[in-house]
């Protein structure tokens, strides 16, 4: 006991722990029927940390060239103790991370948490989503197996359809005109240096804002409290909310462990540029709704549409005036639900429709 107190005192004299302790002990988190959605941000962050740790471990053995990438992943999976586990966790956590980020974003959207004063939190968050998808896209190629090679081919092909700069973007992404070892090395650079750098920056801003401003309470709840229909409730961050946070993280970990044991992530066949592609090649699941949409509309219209939609999405707080005024905006709720339904339906069609 005495040792702990002395340790505390040592740090307190240097960085003023008492102030921090006071802040933390008084920090509260709103508690209402929608507050369960608050955990998603923390869980996303937790999964990101899992990715960073497993990613660094993989970096110890992975070789980012076309000649060695597949073999190095094979080595990790067969020769390195628990390499199969690190790899499986990295693959599953990646997908879970992106899925969770999507759900987190849509829950924020529907609760209109992006309204004043949290516009910048939303903007950094939307950009973080794009970075997360970039992580997924670049990371998927790294094992250099046939599936990944073909999916990357298909995915980068769409870049060429961007008007004016399409060819340049394609060459920039691929490191050449075709998907080759140069693409692999480039994607590796994106995946372990460029994207982590940008993400660290945006994530720090994003989390800092959340800490400064606290959690947003939905307009409907605020109205109920104002009308006296409900009491304003909150729980202390420490220890109540934190235990709940940790429970969420534990459940996420459990899900990953379950998936890794029931459906071990495969190695597949090494990428072979000469083999013809099988007919139903798709990009990763979080791109399928876009890929499927582009089968129904002219490509240029589709790409342009997604680009505009992306920009509007990032700048959403500036479009939703009603929420900024603290009023319920059913239209935007409907839009949010519609977008989610659209994404789910098109993803489902992409996988389940006959001939797909």
């Amino acid at each position: 006991m005495a040792r702990r107190r002395r340790l505390y005192k040592w740090f307190d004299e240097r960085v003023d722990l008492q102030n921090l302790e006071k802040f933390l002990s008084h920090k509260t988190v709103p508690y209402h029927r929608h507050s369960i959605w608050y955990y998603l941000g923390g869980m996303s962050l937790y999964l990101f940390v899992v990715q960073v740790v497993t990613g660094i471990l993989l970096l110890l053995y992975y070789k980012p060239t076309a000649e060695s990438a597949y073999e190095s992943v094979q080595y990790i999976m067969t020769e390195v103790p628990f390499g199969w586990l690190v790899r499986s966790i990295h693959s599953y956590a990646a997908n879970l991370f992106i899925g969770l980020v999507f759900i987190h974003m849509f829950s924020v959207f529907i609760m209109k948490a992006y309204r004043k004063p949290r516009e910048l939190t939303w903007i950094t968050g939307a950009l973080l989503l794009f970075l997360a998808m970039g992580f997924g896209f670049s990371g998927y190629l790294l094992p250099w197996n046939q599936l990944a090679y073909l999916a990357t081919n298909v995915g980068t092909n769409f870049a060429a359809m961007i008007p004016f700069v399409g060819q340049w973007v394609l060459k920039f992404l691929r490191g050449g005109n075709e998907v080759t070892g140069a693409t692999l090395t480039r994607f590796f650079g994106f995946h372990v240096a460029v994207l982590p750098g940008l993400t660290t920056l945006l994530l720090t801003i994003h989390v800092l804002f959340v800490q400064r401003q606290g959690m947003s309470v939905p307009v409907s709840i605020e109205k109920e409290i104002a009308q006296g229909k409900a009491k304003r409730m909150a729980i202390p961050f420490f220890p109540n909310y934190l235990y709940r946070d940790i429970l969420g993280w534990t459940l996420a970990l459990g899900l990953i462990v379950l998936l890794a044991s029931l459906f071990p992530w495969e190695l597949g066949d090494k990428a072979d540029m000469l083999k013809p592609a099988p007919p139903h090649i798709k990009p990763e699941w979080y791109f399928v709704f876009m890929y499927q949409t582009l089968k129904y509309v002219p490509k240029v219209v589709g790409i342009f549409g997604f680009a505009v939609a992306g920009i509007v999405w990032v700048l959403l707080p500036f479009f939703d005036r009603k929420s900024n005024r603290g009023e319920i905006n059913r239209l935007y709720t409907a839009i949010g639900v519609a977008v989610v339904v659209y994404m789910i339906v098109l993803t489902a069609i992409g996988y389940l429709a006959p001939g797909e």
Partner: protein, 152 residues
Amino acid sequence: MDKNVPRRDVINLLLGGGIAALGAATLYPIIRYMIPPPASGAGTSSVSAARVGELKPNDGKIFKFGETPAILVLKPGGDPASASSYVSFTAVCTHLNCTVQYRSDLKEIWCACHNGHYDLSGRVLSGPPPSPLTQYRVAIKGDEIFVSSERA
């Protein structure tokens, strides 16, 4: 053991114990993972083929290079301690992929399947092989003989 152990202590014990177990279950694999395994690295471009003194002059050895066989030959009259006395090639015959071997009577590399003969520069001397054997570089570090497929 006190029968009326407060429930708080039980929960704390459970929680503490569980987290400790989880921590150990996480840390143990990570530490084992980080220690390099004895097998040679992946995407092999360099392999330890033999020890100095393992081969006598005018003798050859088949070893595993990645997933394919390779051959190391100590030339007749060669000094086992000098890298230039050794030659090394892929042991996959360029005809129909049989594994070649060293013939000390002929001082040539020979393929038993269809009587293909290669000289000690990998060139085809006779028989059906259409192209020479890919040559590997030999280097000696300490008392290990390393064979590498990297170009000079």
